[in-house]
Every structure is written in C-alpha cells, then in structure tokens.
C-alpha cells in the first residue's frame, strides 16, 4: 500500500472518525486504490451507504455520495442506477447495516441483478453503536446486550447469495490490500450485482476477531476452484473451519435488470415532459372512453 495521492483522496486535513488501527482505514485505501486503478471518473461514480462506521466510508472519498438511512443503501442505489445508467454505483455498508436492518433488500437486490458493487465491511460486530452482536458475530461472543454470549447462528452472506444465484460473490480480508483491490476491481468491472464481503477487524469492540484471528482463520481459495461451479462455491461458503478468501462464485449468464426492463441510455434527468400528442393520445385511450 503506498501513500501517494489518488484522485479519490479528500483534503489531507479531513477528520476521519474511525479509530486508530481499525480495519476500515486499509479497506478505504483498497477501495480508493481499486477505483483509481480502474480509471473511473469520480463524477460518474456514486457511492451509496447506510449508517454505521463502515457506512461513513464515502465521506472520506472525493465522490458523489448518497449517505442514506441505516440498512437502506441498496434500494437507494437501485433508484440511482435505474435513473441513470451512465453512473457507476458502489455501495459500502456494514454487516449490521446490510445483513441486519437491510437483510430484505439484500435478498431482493440479488434477485434484481442490477449493476451495483456491494462492499460489506464485515467486522462481525456493531461498531458505531458500541459493540452489540451483528448478524455475523460468531457464537459465544459476549457483548453488552448478549451478556451470556451470542446464541444465534451467524448469518452466512456468501451462502445466501450463492443460493440466490448472485452472479458475483467474493470474500476479502482488509489485511490483504492487494487481494482486496483485485477483488473490488473485478466486482466493479462486473456487470451485475457483485458482492465483496470484506473481513475488517474492529479493534475496539471485537476482541475475538482480531487482525491475528483473521489471519489465522482464513485461507486463500485454491487456484483450481472453478467459480462457475455453484455447488463447489456453496460448499466453500458453508464449510466449517477456516474462512475462504477470494472469488467464490461467478455466473456470467444472468441478464441485467436494466436490460430486461428496457431502461434507456438517457438519464431520466434529461427526459422531457411528455409531449402534447402522446398526452392527448393517452387521454383518448382511457378505457371508459375509447369505444
């Protein structure tokens, strides 16, 4: 990771609200690095997020930004993308934001398969609200609310995504900036719904899943894994033990929502009001009057 400026950098005096040592810093670098390397124009990119520590990421990039409600980044991203196909839309979200409050949108965004990249900062905890369990918190971790330890089965975003035939499903680790950049680049280049769930240590509230822990409990997916093999992918995603890093699943055969829905190339903001002819024709065609 080098520190040279890239075109998505904010002014150097920007106050970043993340804790020192947090995985978010490296992930931010990776996201900006990927965007820069792809040569994307900041003006044609919209970063969308919800609320949480992760969701602050777009605040620290020089981009168009829709920092909406907790859990609601994906619907907003969908509205943005459909209104202007020229825009590159990237969502950054936390594990609570996306898989907790936003779980329903996660499911249905996958079904839609519009062109969006979803980067989830998966720190296995609610950071901003001070350490409660998130959907991905591992069993038995104690928190101020889960005083006896977490008893729910962790949410498995990769398995669910593959079960719904999400066309691009990857997992990265913020500690490996190179791989993270590479996966994010692929995800953004991919036309369709692309999920990159990124393990991101929260050094304040998650004392279980530390930098060290992630290092020890992850492995790179073997080179011979065929990401187009859905069953193999889901096997990787559901296996117990260490967590696989890399590209789990890819399906290039799913059609894009925008294409199926016939969304035109012209942004909606450039659309004129209906002309008088069409408008009158519509009036004439109102069922009770057209016979």
């Amino acid at each position: 990771m080098d520190n040279r400026q890239n075109r998505f950098d904010m002014p150097s005096d920007t106050d970043v609200a993340w804790c020192p040592g947090c995985g978010n810093h490296m992930l931010l670098k990776a996201v900006k690095g990927a965007l820069d390397e792809l040569g994307i124009d900041p003006g044609s990119l919209v970063m969308v997020s919800g609320i949480g520590q992760a969701a602050k990421a777009p605040q620290y990039m020089k981009v168009n930004m829709f920092n909406g409600l907790h859990g609601r980044a994906l619907p907003a991203a969908f509205g943005i993308r459909l209104s202007n196909r020229e825009l590159v839309v990237v969502v950054e979200s936390g594990d609570g934001d996306m898989y907790g409050e936003g779980g329903n949108h996660f499911l249905h965004a996958i079904r839609r398969n519009f062109d969006v990249t979803l980067i989830v900062h998966d720190n296995m905890v609610y950071g901003l609200t001070k350490g409660q369990a998130s959907p991905t918190t591992q069993r038995c971790m104690k928190t101020p609310v889960q005083v006896g330890g977490v008893i729910l089965e962790p949410f498995n975003p990769l398995a669910v995504a593959i079960a719904l035939d999400a066309p691009f499903v990857a997992r990265a680790y913020a500690g490996d900036v190179k791989q993270t950049i590479s996966l994010i680049k692929k995800a953004i280049s991919f036309k369709g719904f692309a999920l990159v769930d990124v393990f991101q240590p929260c050094v304040v509230f998650n004392k279980l899943n530390t930098w060290q822990w992630f290092k020890e409990n992850t492995y790179s997916i073997a080179a011979d894994h065929d990401p187009t093999d859905r069953m193999a992918a889901i096997k990787l995603a559901t296996a117990t033990g260490k967590f696989p890093l890399g590209m789990l699943y890819r399906n290039d055969n799913r059609a894009l929502y925008e294409d199926l829905a016939g969304i035109g190339e012209k942004p909606l903001h450039q659309q004129q009001a209906p002309d008088e002819k069409d408008f009158r024709a519509m009036l004439d065609s109102i069922p009770m009057n057209n016979h």
Binding site: P58, K62, F78, G79, L268, Q272, A273
Partner: protein, 569 residues
Amino acid sequence: MRPYPDDISLVIEGAAGQGVQTITAALLPILNNSGYNVFSCMEYMSRIRGGRNSTEIRITGKIRRAFTAHIDVLFALSPHAFEHLQNRIDEKTLIFAEKEQFGNGWNERCIDTPIAKFAIQAGGPVYSNTVAAGAVLGILGIPLEPLNIFLREQFAIKGDEAVENNIKAATLGYDFGLLTPPALKSKIPLPSTNDGESHLLMDGNTALGIGAIAAGCNFICSYPMSPGTGLLSFLAERSGTFGIVVDQAEDEIAAINAGLGASYAGARAVVTTSGGGFDLMQEGMSLAGMIETPIVVHIGQRPGPATGLPTRTEQGDLDLALHAGHGDFARAIFAPGTLEETIATMQQAFDLAQRFQIPVIVLTDQYLLDAVSTIDVLDIKRLPVASTIVRTDEKYKRYAFTDDGLSPRGVPGYGDGLVRVDSDEHDEQGLITESFDMRSRMMEKRLKRLQPLAEEAFPPTVIGRHDGAEIMIVCWGSTRGVLEEALDILDSKRLAGIHFSQVYPLNPSILAMLRNRRIIVIENNARGQFADLLTHETGLGISRRILKATGEPFSVEEVVDALQEEAHG
C-alpha cells in the same frame, strides 16, 4: 326518501366474480355518450370471489359527484342483496331480482327477473352480468346497440362464440327491461346539454395517473396495497410510452428509499401506498426532509388502525401525513376532491416537490379513487414542467446557503461538481458535521421554505355563496362532492361551504374567509383531524364536527340531515 326528483340511482349488486365491474364499464360510457350525467361509486369486500358488493350508478340532471344512500333501482345478482342493502331501499325502490334467491325482502315492488334463465339460454351462467347490463338499458329506454359494440370489442379475444352469446344475453335482458312499468321511466332525467364527446369518464385512479404523467413523472417504485396500487398499475401500463421506470419493491421501505435514490439522481419520482404502508415510509420521509430531495407520496386512505377494512374508505391518515417522520422539516399535503383537482394537485405536488426540494403527499381515499365521474377535457390543464436541476461546476456545494434556504440542486454525473447528500446533519458540501452552529443554520435553512410554501398554497374553493353566510361548512379531500350536493339541496343563504384541496400548509387567505363565522367541519374519520389542523393553523374554534368512520363515505342524505337545522334553524 329522495330529496330531489331529477335523477335516479341505480345499484347493481353482485358477489365478487359476478362481473359487476364489467357491467359498469359497459354502461357508464353508454350513458355518458347518450348525454346523461353519470356518477358511479362502488363498495366491495376484501375478497376475490363471493361476498356482498355493489356499485351505484347515478344518472343525474345536474352534474353530481356524490354517493346517495337511497336506491331507486336495484339490480340484484346475488342472494345477499336484500340483507346487505336493506337500509338503502324502501317501498319506492324498484327491484329487479330472481325471486327465488332474493328471500325475505320480496314484495310487490319487486320484478322477478329471470337472469339465470336468460344467461343459460345465452350459453351459460357466466352471461348473467350481460343479461343485467342489457336489462338496465331496456329499463332506461336507451338503445342496445352501443352495448353490443362494447361486447364485440371486449370479448373479441375470447372468440366469436363468446361474442355471440354475450349479445344474445344482452338482448334477452334488454327485451325484458323494456317491459318495465312506465311509472319508473318518467323519473329518468332528460339528457343534459353537454355532449358526451368533450366529457371524459374516469375514476380517481385514472385522474391521479394522468396528473402524474402530466407532471413528467418518470419513476415509480412501490409495493402493492389497496387502494394505493391503482397508480402503480396505471403507470406500469403506460411505462413504455412515457419512459417511466416502474419497479415493484420488496416492501414499502425499499420503495421510498428507491424513490429517493432516483430523485437524487434526477428522476421525477412518486411512491404510492396506503396508511399501513406509509407507516413504514416514515423514516424515508424524514430522510427526504434531511437531504432536501423531492419525492411525491400518494396515500390512498382506508380505514385503520392496522389492516382495518382494506377495501373501504376513510380520511384517517391526515394526522399521520402531517407528522410523518421524526424531526422537523417542511412538507406539503394535497387532498383533491374532484377529478380536475386530482389531476391538478398531482402536478402541483411534483412541482412543489422539485422546486422546494421536499416530500409532498397526495392524500386520497378508496371512495375517491374508485368513483367514476366526468371531466371536461378542457379542464385537464397541464402545468409547465420546469426542470429545477442545475449543471454543477467544480465548486458545487449541494447545500450552499442562500437567502431563501433553497440551494441549486445538482445531480450526479451532470456537470463538474460532486453531489453529496447525507442523512446525518451536514455542512454545505453535504459532509457530516457536529458543529452546533452549522446545525442551527441548516435547521433554519430547511424550515425557511415553510413561509413561501404557505403563500403558494392552493386557496380553498368556496361552495355556494360566501358573502352573507353565517356558517361555513368546511371539508377536504373526497367529501367535496357530497357537501356540494347537500348545500345545493338545502339551498340556504345561511350556509356556505369551503373545500380544501391543499390541507398543508394552509393559504394565509383562509383566515379572512373564516373569521367571525361559525365553523362546522365535516370529515370521514373518527375525531376530526382537519378540524384540529384548522384550529392549530388559524386559532379559530370549530363549533361542530360532523364525522363518520364506519368505512363508508358520507351519503348526500346524511349530510343534508346533519345540516338541516343549521340551514333552516
């Protein structure tokens, strides 16, 4: 007892699935084209087949747009007719029904109508509704041919046999109807002088859709919910022609957030729902207020709380609309009472939303949305659709401070600037701030628009003669028609009506209209939500509230009764 003689109310009763809607769709245009004034409204249960449903068709001398309780002619298709409608029929009601299934209520005013027999003669029980349609024309003495044309068009896709059977059914019914005792026929009003051509027939849903299209609406994402779904279907059907992006959301939360995303990116977005769905959009409303992003929300009201009565009517969501979303921010709320107003307020809603960068609500209800009446094409006016979007430059700040609190609105990808919106309190650039000073200035900025919004508010419409009236009867939304008719019938100089098609903010001119008069508010809810609002905004006291929250609209008779003493006392 009918308070006036120059019109008739015809009610067709039938279970869901018996085709009452098809009869209505056939008869209304025929009546309209024949030069009659027509108005129609319907009431139905929350089920797909069976149940107790009815449609009222009024054929009137003057143009009327209100529900009357009394039934002059009842056409009964189901065995539930008498039980269901007995309060609305009396000894003068002419009843066409099959004696066998009509039950207890049968007496000499009933005409045994062999609907099922004719249907079977025509080809099978499914033709019952066509028999009824034919019979109605016969009763009214209107030529059959237009109905045959309708049937040919309607059933063409089902093949020749279906068409022929339908025509046969219509003819059998027609011939029967012609034999109706002449005593009734004399009640039919003369055709009005309006020629049917320039008058379009439509329901409130259609008007709402026309308004949205006229306003250049090009994005709708919504989740089905009666009676809000009509707008979604209307726009879906026309999405190709008008380039409207239509998406059915997974839930209402997604719907409004998608709408806001779209609007942020430059779409003219609308969301439609009913009270329960709107509950789920509250946080989105608050977001719209915070990020100053236009959105139009249509709420088709129905009786609550909770699921309530899904297919019935009420005006019970005004309070909710007024206070939806936590925190303080500006909004506007419309509540049209006629087709014309529906088309106009919908356009105004989009226009205000764009210009003031706020959420705007259009409140209708099941009664208004389903009621069919006529509108002169010339009264369908289009507001110019001005784009309020600016091309940004490099120094662009989404929330730049200005004198009126309105910052030029850019959209991403259009110009050299960046467009940043944030649900947290933010600075001019749209970035998170925790400065108390910035917070204060931003709150002030967001609320400043309330004043001009009030000044631009649609003034209410006076019904009758305002000068000299001691008592003002106030109504809003769908109750306009019934008050108009009641005041017309009561014909009292002491009373005048005022109808609000915009209910928030209120135009400052209303104070002068209402001051020093007794105020009576009539509304279709349990506690008088608009009455409260009126007092809140004007400080004026309300002397009486005429309320109804049964799930039914007010009938003309009820309102006449309720105002009788005031009118003549």
